[in-house]
Each structure stands twice: as structure tokens, then as C-alpha cells.
Symmetry: C2
Subunit: 327 residues, 2 copies
């Protein structure tokens, strides 16, 4: 028995399961936000869904043995990239895990672990996590945006996740910021994600360097071809001129996207996470300035832009929040 871990016996404990393309992360969280125990393992996505799910169940059992030895978890929450049918509990072709097909992940975990399970896509889960445990606490109408490899979002309305008609609301990376722009793989024209994602920022930096500009990013990454969004953020912090040029180009595009989100949802808080948000004030100061200058004043007055707070544990906390909202 581990009395310290179960000190708050009245707070239900849930299992948060974050299924990503490169890692599996599992943690026990109580409803007050205490992370009781967590562990992680590589996804090894090439092994296929049957083995991934088996190893995921084993990881869950190991975490429960330490953090909830009485087996008393109230629910299992799952966050996963890709198309989710949250009603049926099915994951279809998650991003970055090939040959997945359709897997009834909720019933598989639920049967194996003996607790009801619930699932949301990773951006919706992160929105719920930040709202309950992180930078969104207390905001009744909150928008979460993630600027990472792609751009995603999740919307909290009246303290509840807004799913839309079939669970796909808040695809905020796929609102048009340039109606004459390029076609996005999603089908849409000139999507925000095409210009303001980590991938887009990295591609712009690589293009400038390949066009002849010199940058510290080349040495930092080892080769121009493997420069990522994080290299751009790091070089920006160090005053690199190419990184600054890329950043100055992306800010008004990201700003336009954020203002569109404000004008659509009139939220009181926008929480921004993902690797690019780790630029901190280099992102938030100019973005707040853009919003102040370009938002309808009556809406600008009530909204604040803040950085996501859960960082590396965001996946587990988000999945835990999915479970808690269903408890």
C-alpha cells in the first residue's frame, strides 16, 4: 500500500493514456491534478496495432500496480492523433502510425483494465487538460491552439469541450488565411497550417539558407535538410538573422489566424501550446500586440493569450481530463 499516493482518498483517480507516433505515455492523475505515477515507452509504430496495443496495456498495468495497487481507477482517458470516432471509441489511421486501419482502442483497454474508457483526438484532449489543470483554469470559454508539426485546436464552451456535429470541430489549422493560396493536403485553400506550423516555419528557413543566406541553424541541425521548427526557435533566441526573418514573416499570418479565432468564438482565453509556443515572449509579445491592433475592441478587451502550462506532461493530463469529464 502506498498511503502517500492515495492521501486524497475522496478524489477519484483516472488513468491518462497518450498514444503518439513516437511514444506511449501513461499516468495516474487524481481530480485535483496530482500526477500520482507515470511512465512511458516507445511506440515502435512499425510493429503494427496488435503489438502496440498489447504493449500499451502492459504499460498501463505497470503504472497501475505502482500508483493504484487496489485497482480503483474510475475511468481511462485516451488522447490520440488522427481521426477519432469518440462515440464508438474507434481510432482510424492515427497520424504517424502506418497500417493501423480501424482499432476499437477504447473497448480493448477498457476490457483489459476493468474501467470505462473514453477517447478524444490529441488537440481536444490537450484543450481539456489545459482547461482543467493548466493555463486555461477558470476560463469558461477557452480556445486551445497547438503550433507544432501541424496546427490544431480544441474549444471549450461553457466549461465543456465543443466537439461539433461529429467530433471534428476546431480544426483551427485549416481555416483559410489566403484565399488565393496553395492547396493544403486537407483540400482547403491557403490554410493557416501551410504558413504557420513548425513544418512551414522550418521549410521557410531551409529555403532561405538554400537560397544563399548564412545561418547558425545549419551547424545546429548538422545539415540544412534536417532543420526543424525547434531549430528556428532556438536560433531566434540567439539572435540569428535568418530565424528573425522567418519569424517576422510568420507572425502576421499567425496573428490573422488568432484574430479569426477570436472573432468566431469570442473566448476569454486563448492557450497556445506546441513546440513553437516554447519561443515564449518572442512569440507572445508580438502576437498580443497584433491582436490588440487588429481585433474588434469589444472582443479584444475580454481575451488574453497565454502559453500552455502542462508541457511534457500535457498528453497525460489531457487524457486524464478526457476521463474526468466523463466520470
Amino acid at each position: 500500500m502506498t498511503p502517500v499516493l492515495n492521501a486524497n482518498a475522496s478524489a477519484p483517480i483516472v488513468l491518462g493514456v497518450d498514444l503518439g507516433g513516437t511514444k506511449l505515455a501513461v499516468g495516474l492523475v487524481d481530480s485535483t491534478g496530482r500526477l500520482l505515477h507515470a511512465d512511458r515507452a516507445p511506440t515502435l509504430s512499425h510493429e503494427g496495432p496488435a503489438r502496440i496495443v498489447q504493449r500499451l496495456i502492459e504499460l498501463c498495468r505497470r503504472v497501475m500496480e505502482v500508483g493504484a495497487p487496489a485497482g480503483n481507477i474510475a475511468a481511462i482517458g485516451i488522447g490520440c492523433a488522427g481521426q477519432i470516432d469518440s462515440g464508438a471509441g474507434i481510432v482510424r489511421n492515427p497520424a504517424n502510425i502506418p497500417n493501423w486501419g480501424e482499432v476499437p482502442l477504447v473497448s480493448l483497454l477498457s476490457d483489459a483494465l476493468g474501467a470505462p474508457g473514453y477517447i478524444e483526438n490529441d488537440a481536444n484532449a490537450a484543450a481539456l487538460g489545459e482547461h482543467r489543470f493548466g493555463a486555461g483554469r477558470g476560463a469558461r470559454n477557452m480556445v486551445y491552439m497547438t503550433i507544432s508539426t501541424g496546427v490544431g485546436g480544441g474549444v471549450i464552451i461553457d466549461d465543456k469541450l465543443y466537439r461539433g456535429e461529429n467530433g471534428n470541430a476546431a480544426e483551427l489549422g485549416h481555416i483559410t488565411v489566403d484565399y488565393r493560396g496553395r492547396r493544403c493536403p486537407c483540400g482547403c485553400i491557403g490554410c493557416l497550417e501551410l504558413y504557420a506550423s513548425g513544418s512551414a516555419i522550418a521549410a521557410e528557413a531551409r529555403a532561405l539558407i538554400q537560397g544563399g543566406l548564412s545561418s547558425s541553424m545549419t551547424a545546429a541541425a548538422g545539415s540544412v535538410d534536417v532543420i526543424t521548427g525547434r531549430h528556428v526557435v532556438e536560433a531566434l533566441r540567439q539572435g540569428d538573422a535568418v530565424a528573425r526573418q522567418v519569424w517576422d514573416g510568420v507572425l502576421p499570418i499567425l496573428g490573422a489566424g488568432v484574430v479569426s479565432v477570436i472573432h468566431a468564438f469570442n473566448p476569454s482565453r486563448i492557450v497556445i501550446g506546441g513546440g513553437i509556443a516554447q519561443a515564449g515572449e518572442l512569440l507572445f509579445a508580438p502576437l498580443r500586440d497584433y491582436v490588440a491592433r487588429h481585433t474588434i475592441p469589444i472582443m479584444a478587451r475580454v481575451v488574453e493569450l497565454v502559453e500552455a502550462r502542462l508541457a511534457d506532461q500535457g498528453g497525460i493530463y489531457g487524457a486524464a481530463a478526457v476521463a474526468i469529464q466523463n466520470c
Copy 2:
């Protein structure tokens, strides 16, 4: 007594009040959607708020004398352009009525007519009206867009109006479709309304004609300077080449706006009203085609685009729906 009008005695009767810049419209509606009696009068906006409100109250009394002689109305609903503080019941500087200031319209009407009053901006009221009585019936998650002098919107989520943090959600005319575009009077860059409103469409037609093209719109309007969006729609119906050129230019912009709205809200229905929507299939056929080609398929599958149905009575029905949702 008028037994025909009060045939359905169990259905509560509400008074719908539509305060516009050019006309006042008032009607009695029961909760089944029967319009029992209605009347209208010019706003005479130059007369100032005190006289406008006085004449509005007189109009309400005349309508109630005929349609609800027992005075048994359950509530008053008000729809009005401009900034509304729906909680406090105040209208601030409504569009097209100069020198208005702040008027506590709800308490003035409520005290004079002896029933509780509620107010929303005109686009939110129209959304509620279409949802309860018109083309949005049965759609749990519905977006209403109006394409008129400006572009506005209202969003129904889980069968309820979504107001946002301070009542200003769904300013759908002010989402960016061109981040490098012109600055809108609202402060935002490249707003949908700048390119796809009735005013924008008319301005484009006038510019083409003033640039040397010949069009039937000039004779129809009497002069190039007074061509409006409705003239463009009428000329389009008759096969006018300049109107067609304007239309072909605006469709992909409007399409991008509609797709952004779908990707943000994942609705099951988008109801489009306003003067430009009266183009009917000339608008809806190409817009549906654009949406089918440029929307994320899982969201395209569940959404339909339909024309608003309440037309000229939309203001009264919208205001009545504002009252009913508060009954």
C-alpha cells in the same frame, strides 16, 4: 375576442420586435411558429431615440390590441443591429441610427407593455429564428450567415445560441481570408466582409463599369453610382457578363469563408440569408461545389448549405425566437 387567432390557447404568445435603421417591424408569434398579427412603420432615424422608442411602443400596442387583446403575451424579444449588451438590455449605437448613444430599450419596452423583455443583435436573432422556425429546424449545431450590406453570423450549439464571453461570438464577416489584404474598419486585415458583402460586390461591379465595361446594371439602377448588391444579383439572373465576372470573383472568397466556418464549428447545417442569398441556386450550387472540393471530407459529409427561409419576416421571427428561448 378573436378566437381564430387564439385557437392554440396552450402555445405561449410572444411579441417579436425588429428595430432596423429604416423600418420598425413588430409581430405576435406563438411557439408553434404561427404569425398571429404583424405591422411595421418607418424608423425615421433622424428623429432620435426618444421619439423612435415612443413610436415603437405605440406600434407594439396596436399589434397587441389586434393579436393579443387579452394582453397575455409571455415575453418580448428584440432584435437590433449594433452593439448589444444583452445582459443589461442596452443597445449602444445601433448601425444606421445616428445619435443613439445608450438606450435601455429592454426596460423601456418591458415597463410599457407589461412583459419581460430580452434582446440580441440582429444576426443572433436571425440565427435563433431560422433555427426554431425556418431552414435550421432540427439542426443541433447550426451556423447562420447573412450576406447583406455586411456579412454577419450567429451560431447555434447544442440547440442554444452561442454568445461567447461577452455576447459577440460569430462575427463571421470578420474572419481573415487574406492576411495580406486591406485593413477593415473593424481593425482586422483582409476580412471576409471586405470582399464578399453586398457592398463589396456592388463596389466591384461599379469599378468594372467605371473602368469601361458595359452592363445592364447601369440602366437598371439609373446610374452607376447607385448600383447595389441586389442589382448585381438581378443582372446575374439575366445573364449580364459584368455581373457574372463579379460573381465568379466573389465565389471562391465566400467559399473560403464558409469552409473556414465549417472547419471551426463542424456544424450540420449552414443557413445563409441576406439579400445576396436571394440569388438562390446561382449562389448555392457553386458554393456547395466549392465546399465539397475544399472541406475536410469527414466534416463535408455531415454539413448541408441551405437558404434562409423566413425572408421578409425573418426579423420578427428572430426577435420572437429570442423571447421564446427565454420563456
